[in-house]
């Protein structure tokens, strides 16, 4: 990776003065004029364009929240593309690769739009530098959503520059030449020049104006939407050559393993490091300042054992004898916390949505049914535990780390060390899984702190125990739903109360109030056609670091709403799929005001006009999933189908699970998932994300419970924090992607298949066994 970045830097074309002059002349001269003359002079062309999907029509630009993210989006080919004289095209991947395939997909889009041959494309990974590359926070299922348009613009601009260069070389008009499969051709003259031959001249041109660009039609795509391109790192992964966080090394690198406070904010009362110092290979023992809860992504602090190798550092850390003053959160206990959440959820909270008069309607209702669902903490537990290498040299810090947000890691680390961001570099390796954990780069800052302390190079290695015990956990939650029915059993009121500590507690003082993001994930936007709908949040406080976990608050929202929907259907003697569709009601665009919101829907911060909540699309995925899974078919005793649907990350997903309950365990012969994520840029990787989301969600539903006692996490490794394995994973995940043209905006993929999984599973288990599970995880509940 290092070598690749260096060679890329060397290969970037350099400008000569002559080139600069040419650039200016061509930009003001022919390119724009030619474009204008085509549009003004050839009226037929313009008219025809209205009826035929020409390139200009095929890609009408639309706003996304990408423009409003810190440092926005960048669409300059000079930043993202370099072409070598031998024709090799180098494309920069600026988003982090944690398994979604984004490091392949965005460059693939650039390559397709510029007519490059994928076999001659090389990818290099950008360091954390948002002013240069645009936003790099790889989370929120938004890399494609925010960068599919800039990627096409980069590709089209590069193609335009190559065509400009060829036209100039041949002395012809640019409209008479065309880039095709790594060459620019002039059919009439029979001229051809490879991208390599044109590289210097083309890449020396200034970036053409957006208005000068032409785009490929969907029929012309070679890679986009085709799903034939394999992930760029596939060969390296299968040969062990792929580089992850712990795989970077320098001859003088020391390894540090850290004893962190067992309770967030606990202070050291006394320490005896005699035995640790006696471990062969241990060189230094250093203190890292303890930080209280609410310190954002700052290291927890503790005692670092710095050694010659990993084994010595681990042994040294284990030999430390530390007595901790447990402090404020030393009484945090899951048992009492759960009771507190249930208590606050039983009382009125503060309203986040009031459509009609939910409280009044519940009072008047002939029948009121109440359901309560509980979800404990969960740890992301990526296969690669947090790790980072940092080197301090000549007053500067350079980091190599598997981080989702390298620029945040850079600025946070600079701030922590009292350095300038320009004196900190963050290089991004492959991420061995992340699921939200590696958005918080406390581990990279730890490495940087220690590197500065010893004036050299240090790799911080978290053990699995460290990872399970010191995560930024998925929040706990109690979601209580009260439904009022009239005398004809028609639902007239639906009120949901959410008691869940907010991740705001990680960023500052905990006021017990949820963030807009958390409310927006399924609490404020229940898409049901019921006259009176209320949503309230109840005060809930955190006793540990809370952070985002693949699909975040959508997990508890889909779990509660979709479980309650099926429970209600059973109560009313209705088919669960039909009842779900009945509640969703007719196809319509949800309107925030009509829904009784004080403002707009949060909507993943996406502009609502472009990405509205369309209940028709939600119903459609429900119908398709039911149809494909054979909903309604007769199954043997002990087996059942369950259905659930949820919109998140502006995508619509429905899941049908076939469950078989036997001897207290559950097996899943098949799962059907239908996703409507707008235009599907890389269907093959969408399928792998759906399969992965099912396994991830199944682990959460079956096993994931992080529990606290006296402020300490009780679990430590995969024996008590279990994972779904090959012998109990969903045996066959059938994915159906609703087909759409490019004009239906691409939306999220990495996360949205997680939320509907758990309720579909609980509904399937109920239909198979009659057992209703309302508290996650399932663990031994099927045995009782």
């Amino acid at each position: 990776m290092l070598r690749q970045i260096e060679s890329f830097a060397n290969r970037s074309p350099s400008f000569t003065d002559d080139d600069r002059k040419t650039v200016v002349l061509r930009k003001v001269g022919s390119a724009e004029l030619n474009r204008r003359s085509v549009l003004q002079g050839l009226g037929v062309f313009v008219i025809a364009a209205q009826f035929m999907p020409t390139s200009a029509e095929a890609f009408e630009t639309y706003p996304t929240n990408g423009l409003k993210m810190p440092n926005g989006v960048v669409n300059d080919p000079h930043i993202f593309v370099a072409i070598a004289p031998d024709g090799e095209v180098t494309i920069v991947a600026h988003r982090a690769e944690m398994g979604t395939g984004i490091r392949t997909t965005l460059p693939m889009i650039i390559a397709d739009e510029m007519e490059a041959d994928w076999g001659r494309v090389k990818i290099v990974q950008a360091p954390g530098d948002e002013p240069k590359y645009g936003n790099q926070d790889t989370d929120g299922s938004r890399s494609l959503r925010h960068f599919i348009q800039p990627a096409r613009e980069i590709g089209a601009a590069t193609r335009h520059m190559l065509e400009q260069a060829a036209a100039k070389r041949w002395g012809v008009d640019i409209d008479t030449v065309k880039a095709l499969d790594h060459q620019v051709v002039h059919r009439k003259l029979g001229n051809r020049l490879g991208f390599g031959d044109l590289a210097h001249a083309a890449m020396s041109l200034e970036t053409p104006a957006r208005s000068a660009l032409s785009f490929k039609t969907e029929q012309e795509f070679r890679y986009i939407g085709r799903g034939q391109v394999q992930i760029y790192d596939l060969h390296d992964i299968t040969t062990g050559a792929a580089i992850y966080g712990a795989d970077v090394n320098f001859p003088d690198t020391k390894v540090a393993v850290i004893a962190r406070p067992p309770v967030v904010g606990a202070k050291i009362k006394s320490i005896n490091d005699k035995k640790a110092r006696a471990v062969p290979g241990v060189e230094k023992i250093l203190r890292i300042p303890i930080t209280p809860l609410g310190s954002k992504f700052k290291p927890l602090g503790g005692v670092a054992v710095v050694a010659q190798n990993t084994w010595a550092a681990m042994k040294g850390r284990d030999a430390l004898q530390i007595e901790w003053d447990r402090g404020k959160y030393g009484t945090y206990s899951t048992k009492t916390h759960e009771k507190e959440l249930r208590l606050v959820a039983s009382k009125p909270g503060s309203s986040v949505r009031k459509q009609g008069d939910p409280d009044g309607a519940l009072k008047k209702a002939a029948t009121v049914l109440s359901y309560e669902y509980y979800q404990p903490h969960a740890a992301q537990a990526p296969m690669e535990p947090p790790t980072a290498l940092a080197r301090f040299k000549d007053g500067k810090i350079e980091i190599w780390a598997p981080v989702q947000s390298p620029y945040v890691a850079r600025t946070d680390t600079a701030e922590y060390l009292g350095m300038k961001p320009e004196d900190v570099t963050v290089n991004v390796t492959l991420l061995g899984g992340a699921f939200g954990r590696k958005s918080k780069a406390d581990f990279a800052t730890e490495a940087a702190f220690l590197a500065k302390e010893i004036g050299g190079s240090v790799r911080v290695q978290w053990t699995r125990d460290d990872d399970i015990r010191h995560s930024y956990y998925h929040t706990t939650s109690v979601e209580r739903i009260d439904v009022g029915l009239d005398e004809n059993n028609k639902p007239i009121a639906w009120r949901q109360r959410s008691a869940a500590p907010s991740f705001k507690s990680t960023f500052g003082e905990d006021k017990g109030v949820q963030h807009d993001i958390e409310i927006g994930m399924g609490l404020e936007n229940l898409p049901y056609e019921i006259a009176n709908i209320g949503a309230e949040q109840c005060p809930a406080f955190s006793g540990t670091r809370v952070g985002w976990f693949r699909s975040v608050s959508n997990i508890q929202r889909a779990f509660s709403v979709q479980s309650a929907t099926a429970e209600l259907a059973v109560e009313l003697g209705k088919d669960q799929k039909d009842f779900l569709l009945e509640l969703i009601g007719p196809a319509r665009i949800l309107n925030a005001k009509a829904c009784g919101l004080p403002g707009e829907f949060w909507n993943q911060y996406e502009p609502y006009k472009e990405f509205p909540f369309d209940t028709g699309r939600l119903s459609n995925v429900v119908k398709l999933a039911a149809e494909r899974a054979g909903w309604g078919k007769t199954l043997p005793k002990g087996e059942g189908l369950g259905i659930a649907a949820h919109r998140s990350f502006v995508s619509y997903v429905a899941t049908v699970i076939h469950a078989k309950v036997e001897d207290g365990t559950v097996k899943l012969p098949s799962v059907h998932v239908v996703i409507d994520c707008g235009f599907a840029a890389n269907p093959e990787r969408i399928r792998s994300q759906i399969e992965g989301a099912c396994a991830f969600a199944m682990t959460t539903a079956l096993y994931s419970g992080i529990t606290f006692k006296d402020g300490e996490v009780q679990e430590s490794n995969f024996h008590d924090y279990e994972m779904v394995r090959s012998d109990n994973f969903p045996f066959k995940v059938n994915t159906h992607i609703v087909p759409h043209p490019f004009s239906v905006h691409a939306t999220g993929v990495g996360e949205p298949a997680v939320p509907p999984f758990a309720p579909a599973l609980m509904n399937a288990i109920f239909n198979a066994s009659g057992k209703r599970i309302r508290n996650l995880p399932i663990k031994g509940q099927l045995r009782s």
Partner: protein, 149 residues
Amino acid sequence: MKLRINGIERDFNGDSNMPTLWYLRDELGLVGTKYGCGVGLCGACTVHVDGLAQFSCLVRMGELEGKSVTTIEGLSEDGQHPIQVAWRDQNVPQCGFCQPGQIMKAASLLKEIQKPTDQEILEGMSGNVCRCGCYERIVAAVRQASTGA
């Protein structure tokens, strides 16, 4: 003591209690073998000892006298072992971190059982965790490598 790593004879005189994993990674720079749990619960560190899969986090250096260890880097010259080929054909990996361990385990499984049934694959591979959830494709890849289909 002497041992062979990927066919090369090595002398080891360090801490005989050190797990092989750290010798491979820290001393030899063979970083394809991954650390995932340290206690034999995830399989990310799987290597072959005398041809069969072992968790290198559990095998102490002292146990390797006269033994031959193969890591992912030594499984084939050019990445063309049938398991590696099948892994690419089936587009198995997502993040890829656990895959060297999965591949080493699968290669060993096929040595023990030439044509495993699906059930034997599922059970045989159950010591290797993939948090990304590539299991369905792992099974397909092992099946392809064993049957060519």
